[in-house]
């Protein structure tokens, strides 16, 4: 993942801008501040996950984000990427290099110890976040196994996008901000029965190919897990 893309997706600026753009510009900032008050995310690309997790835990513990429950996820990334830290507060990317608050200083120290930013091979993407409220739909995340292999924007229509899996491939169509599996190389084609997805948290799964296509963001369904 290029550093610019990483920072862009980490900040969730794209979906927020899409939503905010529909309302009066005068109220933009107020809307953004109220809608996302208290939201926080910290994303790190690193090839030293255990050490990084421990350092981020210590930084968070001593910050305004401690003393609460945060979400944590970890994905593998294939190939060479720029290892870095992205700190987002109320959906705005914070330049922790320039920040003088304690959390920014701790992140700055962590980045120095971890030699970030720096190119790393086959790293992991660690994400700590406090998003409590449902969000607008973000981009499309495509996973193969436990690796995040591609991120696509939801608002760029594509007639056909092929995703190679473990045993074959599937083709998806992106149209009117929704995603649908339109063909699969396997014989039973069960995944083609799934409804198109468009809302945050929804996903399409092809089990034989271990492909999971999900819409980024916090689901509005408001449950912790779903039985089906």
């Amino acid at each position: 993942m290029r550093r610019r893309d990483f920072l862009k997706y980490s900040s969730l600026i794209l979906p927020a801008s899409a939503a905010i753009g529909m309302i009066n510009p005068f109220t933009k900032n107020i809307f953004a501040a109220v809608k996302n008050s208290g939201s926080f995310s910290l994303s790190v690309i690193t090839d030293k996950p255990s050490k990084t997790i421990h350092m981020m835990e210590q930084a968070i513990k001593n910050s305004e984000y401690g003393s609460r429950t945060l979400d944590f996820t970890e994905y593998r990334l294939k190939g060479q990427h720029i290892g870095d830290i992205a700190y987002v507060k109320s959906q705005k990317l914070v330049d922790y290099h320039k920040g003088s608050d304690e959390f920014s200083l701790l992140l700055n120290d962590s980045a120095r110890v971890l030699s970030l930013p720096d190119p790393v091979d086959d790293p992991v993407l660690l994400r700590f976040s406090s998003q409590q409220n449902p969000t607008e739909a973000g981009g499309i995340n495509i996973f193969r196994g436990d690796a995040l292999i591609k991120q696509l924007p939801l608002d760029n229509d594509r007639e056909l996008y092929r995703i190679e899996g473990l045993k074959g491939h599937i083709d998806i169509r992106i149209k009117n901000r929704s995603v649908k599996i339109v063909s699969a190389s396997c014989k039973h084609k069960t995944c083609m029965n799934m409804d198109a997805i468009s809302r945050p948290g929804e996903n399409l799964i092809c089990v034989p190919n271990q492909i999971n296509i999900s819409i980024a963001g916090k689901s509005a369904l408001g449950v912790d897990s779903i039985t089906f």
Binding site: R68, L70, T73, T227
Partner: protein, 339 residues
């Protein structure tokens, strides 16, 4: 200064407050991990103050579930269940104590559920092929009739002394699809608890064990997928230290000539069950919930809700889309039917 009993109480209360304050001060993390096992996605969310320790526990739980899959999956040629199937009608197969116990419980469920749930459905499962990579076509009705003769749980011979299992008729085969996933969830959950993780949700393809709470004051909230609007929920409810499983006709199916053919087969007819779109059961273990959900799906809502011996909280979406549930579910789990 004289230390009175009242002082002791005050000192104790100050100490207690300090402990509670310290607990409040702890940063907790909901660690989420997804893996592909047992032909489905297995998602676990666990609450812990130590991410690295939690990740290790989750990996151990996944290894345990993988071990169970390797032992019991009829899709894996090297499993003990496949060995039993390959030797059907020929000779008994020596198995591990764990597999024998699994088969003993499976046979007991088949008896309890009067053969409406029957793990010897294997030959028909293979014929339809919903669990395999083959094109789904409508099978020949004569072939279905022929294979139905091989479906009878009473023809499973379990010898506890020798720890052997024998399928009496050549061509018989066991398919633990309606129960083994539940057992794997129970085993994975046991590993997590043993390693000190007490607050978690383990969801394997929709069958779930819920342990502890979401945070100190809030129970985990679960949703039941709507069988026809599959991006929406039919209902939601709270759960703690309990299991839930759903059997539905919308995960693995094919529409042929306008008719939906799905993977939950009726052992009496050899065709997919027609009385339900989905059935959701709450039970102490995921294994019990898994087997019972399949049974209730095939039994239909009227008989299931009338059966006094079927003492489980349950919600069934009937084949006409109507939603039915019992008081046990509604009253004790904050059930809210959405649509």
């Amino acid at each position: 200064m004289k230390v009175t009993p009242v002082s002791y109480v005050l000192i104790f209360l100050v100490f207690l407050s300090a402990v509670l304050y310290a607990q409040d001060d702890t940063t907790m993390y909901k660690v989420s991990v997804t893996k592909y096992l047992m032909g489905t996605t297995v998602e676990t969310t666990a609450r812990s103050s130590d991410i690295n320790n939690c990740k290790k526990a989750l990996m151990s739980a996944y290894e345990e579930m993988q071990r169970v899959e390797n032992l019991l999956s009829c899709q894996k040629d090297s499993s003990e269940i496949s060995a039993i199937n390959h030797a059907s009608g020929i000779h008994p197969v020596k198995v591990s104590y764990e597999t024998m116990e699994m088969m003993r419980r499976a046979k007991a469920y088949c008896g309890k559920y009067h053969g409406v749930f029957d793990v010897t459905i294997g030959p028909l499962s293979s014929l339809w092929g919903f669990s395999e990579d083959k094109e789904i076509v409508l099978p020949d009705s004569n072939e279905i009739k022929k294979l139905l003769k091989l479906v009878n749980y009473r023809d499973i011979d379990i010898n506890e002394k020798d720890t052997t299992v024998f399928l009496k008729k050549r061509g018989m085969s066991i398919d633990l699809g309606g129960i083994a996933k539940g057992y794997a969830i129970d085993r994975g959950s046991a590993v997590l608890r043993k390693l000190g993780i007490t607050d978690f949700i383990l969801n394997a393809g929709g069958d779930i064990y819920v342990s502890g709470t979401k945070d100190r004051d809030t129970e985990w909230k679960l949703g039941i997928k709507h069988p026809r609007y599959t991006n929406d929920l039919a209902a939601e409810f709270n759960l703690k230290d309990y299991s839930v499983a759903t059997s539905g006709d919308y995960e693995r199916f094919k529409i042929i000539n306008g008719v939906r053919y799905h993977h939950i087969l009726n052992p009496a007819t050899g065709y997919p069950g027609r009385l339900s779109e989905s059935s959701t059961i709450l039970a102490p273990t995921a294994e019990e919930a898994d087997a019972t959900a399949t049974y209730v799906f095939l039994l239909g809502w009227k008989k299931a809700l009338d059966d006094k011996d079927l003492n489980y909280p349950m919600l069934i979406v009937a084949s006409d889309g109507s939603v039915h549930y019992n008081n046990a579910f509604e009253k004790n789990y904050n059930l809210e039917v959405i649509k």
